[in-house]
Amino acid sequence: MNDKAIEEMNYEEAIQALENIITQLENDNQTLDDSLALYEQGQKIAQRCAALLKNAELRIRTLTETESD
């Protein structure tokens, strides 16, 4: 799994991490402790995703002439 802090994940990283967790939970070879830890992690990541969607605002930057040179 991605070790990057959840608060710093972009949407793609977060949703991939979430998909990863779901795959791991679907796998039967998890201890209860591991499963609970995964679930907790998954919840946090899903909240991160929701926050990213909720607070999204398109940012626009126009490259100046010098940047193009």
Binding site: E12, I22, Y39, G42, L53, A56, L63, S68
Partner: protein
């Protein structure tokens, strides 16, 4: 000789004007070249009567040709003819029988030079295709959730507004890097290439390139060989959206994905935020049901283990020992009670016996104990003298007696002294 001339004149067929024009019309209409041909020239004598048909003359320096566009064809024209315009008109040549003149029946018109451009286009396309520039293996996959989206177009064009509006609605998570460039005219190709290279350096996740609709000439910079090569060489996936649905440019072939319009390019580049939200909700409920399932599974396992463990547990042993103890206790109680009953009956027999031996009971039956005044029991006549006072103990008191006579059993029945 005159007769021969006369005869030879009569040998030639005689046609009416109608027959001649009909003949000529058939002749022309059976000629393949004349059935579908582009004629280039300058528009003059343009006439647009209320019938809706369009009449004009195409001319060049030395000749002229009557042209007509039927009303039914006018709506489909790429280009409306204007007086003095240099055009290429497509159609078939036939005879207008009533007027006795041949003319071009036009079904399409384009600005002069476009035909040559198109030939150039096909030649360049064939060349680049042969080089493998448009090969499917060269195409880069699009990122599912682009973080940074580069745009190459005119900062003032409608295409830019369309793309920005689409991105705002669909996917406001992105950062847009607008790398502005002219998208028509001679300055366009070098500016487009420079704008692309500026973006390559900044490494956005995907690049949208395009412009709104226009004439073939307007879109032509996207068929420029250098532009097409710059797009094909991009290290970043590029989506092209040039003109309208029907417009195809070489940039479209070189891009990783071709969109029909600039708006379409923005759509293809991004997922819709509503769908992302739905997906997230699905994932979230999936996560919750997975953990519930997991917990139930563990709970069931624990229940099974507990059931297996119970006979082995010390508590179970204690309980079982306690039961054993109870059992022993009960037996002990039973034995004790039995024993007690036996003793009880022995005791009461002894009591009865004892009772029977109690002297006072004998006294009740009429016996008395004789005692000397000092309390010594008198068991023989030898112990008393006549006139001696002795005591008789009865069951309810004492009597003091005086002995009147003594008889000894040994000397006969009664011996009086």
């Amino acid at each position: 000789m005159a007769q021969f001339n006369l005869f030879s004149d009569f040998e030639a067929p005689i046609l009416s004007v109608t027959q001649l024009n009909f003949y000529l019309r058939q002749l022309m209409e059976s000629d393949d070249l004349l059935q579908r041909v582009w004629i280039k020239g300058e528009v003059s004598n343009l006439s647009t009567p209320r019938s809706g048909h369009i009449y004009f003359t195409l001319k060049d320096a030395e000749a002229s040709l009557q042209c007509v566009i039927w009303k039914s064809n006018t709506a489909r024209l790429q280009q409306i003819p204007r007086e003095g315009m240099a055009i290429e008109a497509r159609g078939y040549i036939s005879v207008y029988e009533r007027g006795g003149n041949y003319q071009l029946y036009v079904d399409n018109i384009r600005v002069a030079g476009e035909g040559e451009l198109f030939q150039e286009f096909l030649a360049l396309k064939a060349k680049l295709e042969a080089e493998g520039l448009f090969d499917a293996e060269r195409k880069l996959p699009l990122p599912p959730y682009p973080h940074t989206i580069g745009i190459v177009t005119s900062a003032t064009g409608a295409a830019y507004q369309d793309m920005i509006n689409t991105l705002k609605n669909r996917y406001p998570l992105a950062q847009v890097l607008l790398s502005p460039a002219a998208v028509q005219g001679d300055k366009a190709p070098p500016q487009i290439i420079k704008a692309l290279q500026a973006l390559y350096a900044l490494k956005p996740d995907v690049i949208l390139i395009g412009r709104g609709g226009g004439s073939l000439e307007d879109l032509w910079c996207f068929n420029n060989e250098s532009v097409v090569r710059a797009i094909a060489a991009s290290p970043i996936p590029i989506i092209s959206g040039v003109g309208h649905e029907t417009d195809f440019t070489l940039s479209d072939f070189a891009a990783d994905v071709r969109a029909p319009t600039p708006t379409g390019a923005a759509v293809l580049a991004t997922p819709h935020i509503d769908e992302m939200g739905e997906q997230l909700v699905n994932y979230f409920s999936g996560l919750t049901s997975l953990i519930k399932q997991k917990i139930n599974q563990f709970r069931q396992e624990i229940n099974e283990l507990t059931a297996n463990l119970r006979p082995l547990s010390p508590l179970y042993k204690v309980a079982s020992e306690m039961q054993h103890l109870d059992h022993l206790e009960q037996r002990l109680y039973q034995l004790t009670a039995q024993q007690a009953a036996v003793q009880q009956s022995r005791l009461s027999a002894a009591m009865q016996h004892l009772n029977a031996l109690n002297p006072s009971n004998i006294l009740r039956r009429g016996y008395a104990i004789l005692q000397q005044p000092d309390g010594q029991t008198i068991t023989t006549v030898m112990q008393v003298e006549v006139d001696e006072a002795i005591q008789a103990v009865l069951h309810d008191g004492r009597l003091t007696l005086t002995v009147n006579k003594k008889n000894s059993k040994i000397e006969g029945d009664t011996r009086n002294e």
